[in-house]
């Protein structure tokens, strides 16, 4: 007693204020998010496990049973070292199904609200002594420090700010699944304070009381040795049972379940806690024996009652005593806050809401929030009541072990959830009730009265008479619990709901959720239906939250998406009101259709789960999964489109090629019904379903504004034993093939025309030769200049006809003509003049002006007849396109490697749709009967023979309308060999075609 009450109260108030300020700093964002979200903060927050027992109880145990105190730390460390085997599966379940407590987990797995209620009652009964222990240490420490006569009242005083903190951290928002970063950060701070205080006490013991490690070792081997012989060593059975109790506490104690599974920021953080939390516990445990030995060195009799508070004996300094008190306050407040939050949630979900389910007339969120606040307050003040009425008479070990032995009764059920799908509700309930009855009568009863179970032991168990009560009760209760659980589960029937839940929970089981159609057809109908249970506002918010989490649009009507939406809503409601109430609401208001619809396995969902868990497979399962992935990848990467429908027409697969072809991502359509697929796919698949044959050839469909020709093949997979049927459809894009086929037909027609033209040319050749001969004869038969001029013109025209017919034959034979023709140097201007002369012979276009601006000196290398043929064609087209009074300009210039000749008219131009096809045979802009469509193909053919190219601009550059045809021929190189031809321009033209 060396401190004033006011001083200690001020110290406690300062510490709690620091928590408030820290919480505010996190809330306001004054602390970096990177720091708050660091996995180390989560690991430290798990230090809530180190309750007042770790500060005081461990010291008491160490002074009584030596290293036996380590069981408290090693048990839970074992559980965390097995994080991947034990904790991750539970965390996965809690996260997936929004299970926030042990009662939620049990109620979900065993499909009974009464199971949740029972677990909640057991937890309440078990944890109240643990909470009483926290307040007792607080009261005892205050009494020890200040000599106060009313430690219970002082403890009650501290209950008020602790309750406010708990409400601030856990009941400010109505929606529990939202993570409480502030809570994590503040509990982590409390853990740091505990650790720092204990480490400091260890240092004080080692260097303040002893003169360092060597002095300690000397003392232990010398004067201290006698004192160590007074301790009672636990026998191996007791040690192992203690380890088991604390191992189970890692996931059964409500505060540990809450911090480990509900507040987990990420899987990574949990996995890191697998080693960092045991490290934290090691550091917490390390100073304990130092404190005990230092007290012994100072002459304190550690065998007397009050051994829990030996740390106060290390010094008479106010600040060192204050340090011990703050460590105890940090431990007690953290435990009280988290246990209160967890118990409030459990009580709300499994007692209050089960007794009075929510209705749609009230503001649900507000009601839940206030209920939670009332329950948090009730839990903390209920614990104080226990301390006041019962706890004062018992030591820390009695109260703490009562809690741990009670909670360990849930261990068989929890292990069965993870590893025994065959376990059922009846077995679990029978075992649990048996175990808890033994525990209540063996330990709780002895807390309330002086009665002891030892007095009731039958003679066959007389050998246990000398063992401690906690050990005997644990052995009998747990063994009876396990035995009855197994026996009853084996001999009774398991309901189908339980089997489904067991599959969802089991670590090894294959999850095969059923696929049933829902009565609701879209998210809007969900809102409407749920409004009857939750009220319109809450229903809208819950549906929108669930749809947003799943990234579903409100219009999504895929059966698969609706089932996922239903599952998500159930999970979210489970976080809000517990799984029992959530399941009732969802079953009642979002039911499956029962109009004879058959349930099938949701293969897509199964595959997604398998993908998520693939790193956990071993051995044969891993090999099989590898094979499955290989086959799936093969199908997805297949170079033709593939989709698979189940027997009900629900889409199961939509591979990459089909996604590319259709422009529809598989994630947006998988799970949709065949009829609900976007156009044209729904109709297309309906056609192949209705088709008597297994294929549909070259179906014309419009995709991305382009007509494509698709060929579909189908294969029916009949149902086999243990498997359901499906329809596989392969989709091939035959658009290219169709185009090639059309080209082939076209080419064949051209070839026919070519052959015809050759025949016609041959037939025309003879009369033309006759006409030419007759015209020649006219030279001899007449001296009339006009007749002679006419004869001359007839001869020229017959030569022209012969040349044209020859060209036609040449075109028909694929450009062989040039091979036998000798190229000569030709001046362009006379060529143009000759062509113009021929054009003038025709009567049409007499009012068109032709302007030959070609410089006289420009020459090209070529064949006169064929180049005149080109010019006549092009000038003729320009004339035909020109309006009356129009002008056609012919110009030429020399470029570096090219001679360029342009023909520009002012006519109506060429329609864009036909421009790319102008050089194809039989394409013409002229009226039927006026053009054959062979002119420009012939021009193109001749220009290419001259290694030139041709370009069409419409409207002509610098003009509002008209067309410019530009021909380019290689520039003659008289003294040097010809440079390699640059085909880029020609290629561009070809690609245009």
């Amino acid at each position: 007693m060396n401190a004033s009450l006011a001083g200690i109260l001020a110290l406690g108030a300062s510490y709690l204020s620091l928590l408030f300020l820290s919480a505010m700093a996190v809330e306001k964002g004054w602390v970096s998010e990177r720091f708050v979200h660091h996995p180390t903060v989560y690991s430290l927050s798990l230090g809530v496990y180190a309750s007042a027992w770790a500060i005081y109880g461990s010291v008491e145990l160490a002074s009584q049973v030596g290293y036996g105190y380590l069981a408290y730390y090693l048990g839970v460390s074992g559980a965390f070292l097995l994080v991947s085997v034990m904790l991750v599966p539970i965390q996965r379940l809690a996260r997936t199904y929004q299970l926030t407590s042990l009662a939620d987990l049990f109620a979900f797995r065993f499909r009974s609200r009464w199971v949740g209620t029972l677990i909640t009652l057991i937890t309440l009964m078990a944890v109240i002594p643990l909470l009483g222990l926290q307040l007792k240490t607080l009261g005892d420490a205050l009494q020890r420090l200040t000599g106060s006569e009313s430690p219970t009242l002082l403890a009650l005083l501290f209950c008020v700010p602790i309750t406010l903190l708990a409400i601030m951290f856990g009941a400010r928002h109505s929606h529990l699944p939202v993570r409480h970063d502030t809570l994590l950060a503040v509990i982590a701070l409390e853990s740091l304070v505990k650790l720092a205080a204990l480490m400091l006490l260890g240092v004080i013991a080692l260097y303040g009381v002893f003169d360092g490690p060597s002095d300690l070792q000397n003392w232990l081997e010398g004067p201290g040795l006698v004192l160590q012989n007074d301790i009672t060593r636990l026998d191996t059975g007791q040690w192992r049972v203690l380890l088991l109790l604390f191992f189970a506490a890692a996931f059964l104690m409500p505060h540990m379940f809450h911090m480990t599974f509900t507040e987990t920021p990420s899987r990574k953080a949990l996995l890191q806690a697998g080693w960092s939390f045991p490290l934290y516990l090691l550091l917490m445990a390390l100073p304990i024996p130092l404190i005990v030995w230092a007290a012994q060195r100072l002459g304190v009799d550690t065998s007397l009652p009050g051994g829990a508070y030996l740390a106060f004996e290390l010094s008479t300094n106010f600040w060192i005593d204050g340090l011990v008190f703050i460590a105890g306050l940090a431990a007690a407040s953290g435990t009280l806050i988290i246990v209160a939050l967890a118990l409030a949630g459990m009580t709300l979900n499994h007692l209050v809401l089960v007794a009075r389910p929510p209705d749609n007339r009230e503001n649900l969120y507000r009601r839940l929030l206030w209920l939670r606040r009332i329950l948090i307050t009730s839990v903390i003040f209920g614990a104080w009541l226990f301390y006041y009425s019962v706890g004062q008479r018992h030591d820390l070990a009695d109260m703490g072990l009562t809690a741990f032995v009670g909670m360990v009764q849930c261990l068989p059920g929890l292990l069965a959830i993870l590893y025994w799908p065959g376990a059922n509700r009846k077995g679990m309930l029978c075992g649990l009730v048996t175990g808890c009855t033994i525990w209540l009568s063996g330990m709780w009863l002895s807390l309330l009265s002086e009665m002891s179970l030892m007095e009731l032991l039958p003679s066959s168990l007389a050998w246990l008479q000398d063992e401690p009560a906690w050990y005997v009760v644990t052995l009998i209760a747990l063994n009876a619990n396990i035995l009855i659980f197994i026996l009853v589960s084996l001999v009774t029937r398991t309901s189908s709901g339980e089997r489904a839940a067991a599959e969802a929970c089991s670590v090894e089981a294959v999850i095969r959720p059923q696929r049933l159609p829902l009565t609701a057809r879209n998210a809007e109908e969900f809102k409407h239906l749920l409004a009857d249970a939750l009220g319109p506002d809450v229903a809208r918010r819950e549906v929108e939250n669930a749809a947003s989490a799943l990234k579903l649009s409100p219009q999504d009507n895929r059966p698969y998406a609706l089932r996922r939406l239903r599952d998500r809503i159930q999970a979210n409601l489970s976080g809000l009101m517990g799984p029992s109430v959530a399941q009732d609401i969802v079953d009642r208001f979002l039911p499956y259709r029962t109009d004879g619809a058959r349930s099938t396995d949701d293969i897509h969902f199964v595959e997604r789960r398998l993908e998520a868990y693939r790193t956990r497979f071993t051995g044969l399962a891993r090999e099989l999964d590898g094979l499955r992935r290989h086959h799936r990848r093969t199908l997805e990467r297949l170079p033709i489109g593939l989709c698979v429908f189940d027997e009900e027409g629900e889409l199961l697969m939509w591979n990459d090629v089909l996604a590319q072809l259709s422009g529809i991502d598989g994630n947006h359509v998988i799970g949709a019904h065949r009829d609900g697929l976007p156009s044209p796919w729904g109709d297309l698949f309906k056609r192949i379903y209705d088709e008597p044959q297994d294929y549909l050839y070259k179906q014309a469909v419009t995709l991305s504004s382009q007509v494509r020709h698709l060929t579909l093949h189908r294969a029916l997979l009949p149902p086999e034993e243990g498997d359901h049927g499906a329809m596989v459809i392969l989709i091939e894009d035959h658009s290219e093939l169709k185009w090639l086929e059309d080209e082939l037909v076209h080419s064949e027609r051209l070839a026919s025309i070519g052959r015809l033209a050759a025949g016609v040319a041959h037939e025309i050749g003879n009369p033309i030769t006759g006409i030419s001969s007759l015209a020649q004869n006219l030279h001899y038969d007449s001296d009339d200049p006009s007749v002679l001029q006419t004869a001359e013109q007839i001869q020229q025209l017959t030569q022209r006809v012969s040349a044209i017919v020859g060209s036609l034959v040449g075109f028909a034979h694929g450009g062989r003509h040039i091979q036998n023709t000798r190229l000569t140097m030709l001046k362009l201007r006379p060529l143009v003049d000759e062509a113009l002369h021929l054009i003038h012979l025709a009567r049409s276009g007499e009012d068109i002006t032709f302007d030959n601006r070609c410089p006289l000196e420009i020459q090209v290398e070529g064949d006169t007849q064929r180049l005149v043929q080109v010019l006549v064609n092009l000038i003729g087209n320009a004339r035909d396109a020109s309006l009356p009074g129009g002008r056609v300009v012919l110009d030429a210039d020399v470029q570096e490697n090219w001679i360029r000749l342009s023909i520009t008219d002012e006519g109506h131009g060429i329609d864009e749709s036909i421009r790319d096809h102008l050089f194809e045979p039989f394409v013409t802009t002229k009226a039927p009967g006026e053009g054959t469509g062979l002119g420009l193909p012939l021009v193109y053919s001749i220009v290419r023979e001259h290694h030139g190219d041709i370009r069409i601009d419409s409207p002509a550059p610098g003009q509002a309308q008209g067309t410019r045809i530009t021909l380019r021929f290689p520039r003659p190189q008289e003294d040097k060999p010809q440079p390699p031809q640059d085909d880029s321009y020609a290629d561009e033209q070809n690609s245009d075609r």
């Binding site: 290293y67 070292l81 232990l220 380890l243 790193t615």
Partner: protein, 58 residues
């Protein structure tokens, strides 16, 4: 998954052999911090296995 089995084996093996830890209290020839060294070794193994798991699942 195999590394989880290693840890499972070690933890349950440790559980069975752990009573040996208690024998060090007040025994002159045994350093008082021996249980903490063994415990630290197990944590170091946990760190190493965690690194292995990260590589395995990468």
């Amino acid at each position: 998954m195999y590394i989880y089995r290693i840890m499972l084996f070690l933890v349950f093996g440790g559980y069975l052999l752990s009573p040996v830890l208690m024998s060090g209290w007040g025994v002159p020839d045994i350093a008082w911090y021996r249980p903490f060294l063994i415990w630290g070794g197990l944590i170091a193994l946990g760190v190493w296995l965690e690194q292995k798991r990260k590589l395995d699942e990468r």
